[in-house]
């Protein structure tokens, strides 16, 4: 097992948002984290990359056990080196070009020589279909293009796993497809991915596993086939039904 997460708790201002979340991820898994708004999905994902500090919880990553509440700087750096994070609002560096967005982490943090960083970046940008806009600034790109550059920025770090936090939620409907197809392609190439999403088609057809959360608890988890075809919990059935009805 690549990633084993146990008993994650997190409160904000006395309100408990995560009430003991467990998740196991194998290499090549694409896990869709589903649930209604406010269920704690995003907070859970952020705790895994230390963008939030969990109050409690243990993560075993490639055999290294890390206390999520008391991780050292070295441990945090090691985890971040093996992971990439794609944000809902892209968070591209606004003062940097497309190419610089992708190379910055490579040259500054990983000390790659400039030309090598550029090669890696161009390859990553080719994978998301953005290699023709190397010198554009984020402000000159559409949301979908920005998000694809953000994915390339993650890919360039050669991560073992990519976390996606609602990667299509800020996009205009007509731009969602281009981002989802990049993600689908990554999944097919065997990339391990954790995806907080409201895209049911993606969860159903691309993801291998589903983690369904509500109110800070895991309501149901299993293969996505099982979850969508034979949901065990009444709440899961209701959620799937509401989402499907909402689309009609």
């Amino acid at each position: 097992m690549m990633l084993d997460i146990r008993n994650v708790h997190k409160s904000f201002d006395g309100k408990e948002i995560l009430k003991g979340i467990d998740l196991q991820v194998n290499k090549g898994d694409v896990v869709a984290i589903l649930g209604p708004s406010g269920s704690g999905k995003t907070t859970f994902l952020r705790c895994l990359n230390f963008l939030e500090t969990a109050d409690k919880g243990v993560m075993t990553f490639d055999g290294d056990e890390i206390d999520l509440a008391e991780a050292s700087k070295t441990q945090i750096a090691a985890v971040r080196k093996k992971t990439a994070f794609v944000f809902q609002n892209y968070n591209l560096f606004l003062n940097k070009t497309v190419l610089q967005n992708v190379t910055l982490g490579l040259t500054l943090a990983r000390k790659f020589p400039k030309d090598q960083a550029r090669d890696i970046a161009v390859k990553a940008l080719e994978r998301v279909g953005m290699a023709d806009r190397l010198d554009a600034y984020p402000g000159q790109l559409s949301g979908g293009q920005q998000q694809r550059v953000a994915i390339a920025r993650g890919l360039a770090q050669s991560p073992e796993i990519i976390y996606f936090d609602e990667p299509t939620s800020a996009l205009d409907p007509e731009l969602i497809g281009e981002v989802l197809s990049v993600m689908r392609q990554l999944a097919e190439e065997g990339m391990t991915m954790l995806v907080v999403t409201h895209e049911m088609d993606f969860a159903r057809n691309v993801s291998s596993k589903v983690l369904f959360m509500e109110g800070g608890y895991v309501i149901e988890s299993g293969t996505s086939k099982e979850f969508f075809e034979h949901p065990k919990e009444a709440r899961s059935r209701e959620f799937i039904r509401t989402i499907l009805e909402g689309r009609q």
Partner: protein, 224 residues
């Protein structure tokens, strides 16, 4: 040289005033501004990072400087400090006071600009493995400078005009020179108006440079 008419006096005074303006006023202003900007960035960064203890010191500095008149600050440093054995020449004393004075205002400008940079920029930086200082210097500060640019230009203009106060602590700058010439020819309205026009010309050039600078900075577009 025995000019008679006011006009002749003003024409004769012009090159002298301009020369002092270029040789003293401008260097005094730019030196003070540059030093003030360094102070401002450090003070703003300390507050942004919420460094315990130092943050309070920064607030105290801003409170003290913004709450007292610039002219009084000049007098305290140049005429007051010698009585406790601290003698500073007029020009460096002026640079020191102007820098710390404008630095306090610019620190607030920079603090606001830093806080206007989206938190997500910092998070994205962490996620690609950058350190806090790397993120600050490569991502957050450049974006903050862009936001602060118009306000900082204001500060520069304010410093240029403020240097005339240095005349009161014996710095022989443009306005002091105008006073000296006036002492000989008694053409107050003409000479002081002439000096004002030269200040106006300096500030016009800075305003023009500001527009050029803003155009360049806007190369990377808006937030979307």
């Amino acid at each position: 040289m025995a000019p008679q008419t006011t006009w002749q006096i003003l024409v004769a005074a012009f090159p002298r005033l301009l020369s002092y303006g270029i040789r003293v006023t401008i260097p005094l202003a730019f030196l003070s501004f540059a030093l003030g900007l360094v102070i401002a960035v450090i003070v703003a960064m300390i507050q942004y990072a919420d460094v315990k203890g130092l943050r309070q010191l920064c607030r105290f500095y801003i409170w003290l400087i913004r709450g007292t008149p610039l002219l009084v600050q000049l007098y305290v440093v140049f005429y007051g400090l010698p009585s406790v054995g601290i003698m500073i020449d007029a020009f460096p004393a002026a640079v020191f006071v102007f820098a710390f004075n404008e630095g306090a205002y610019m620190a607030e400008t920079m603090r606001g600009a830093l806080e206007s940079v989206s938190r997500g920029q910092m998070e994205a930086g962490y996620c690609v493995g950058l350190s806090y200082l790397q993120i600050m210097f490569h991502i957050v500060l450049p974006q903050a400078f862009r936001t602060a640019f118009p306000a900082l230009s204001n500060s520069l203009i304010s410093v240029v005009k403020g240097t005339s106060l240095a005349a009161t602590i014996t710095v022989m700058e443009m306005f002091r020179q105008a006073q000296v010439i006036n002492g000989v020819y008694y053409r107050s309205l003409g000479l002081y108006a002439e000096t004002a026009v030269i200040y106006l010309a300096f500030c016009t050039v800075i305003t023009w440079l500001q527009h050029k600078g803003e155009k360049r900075l806007s190369a990377y577009g808006g937030n979307r």
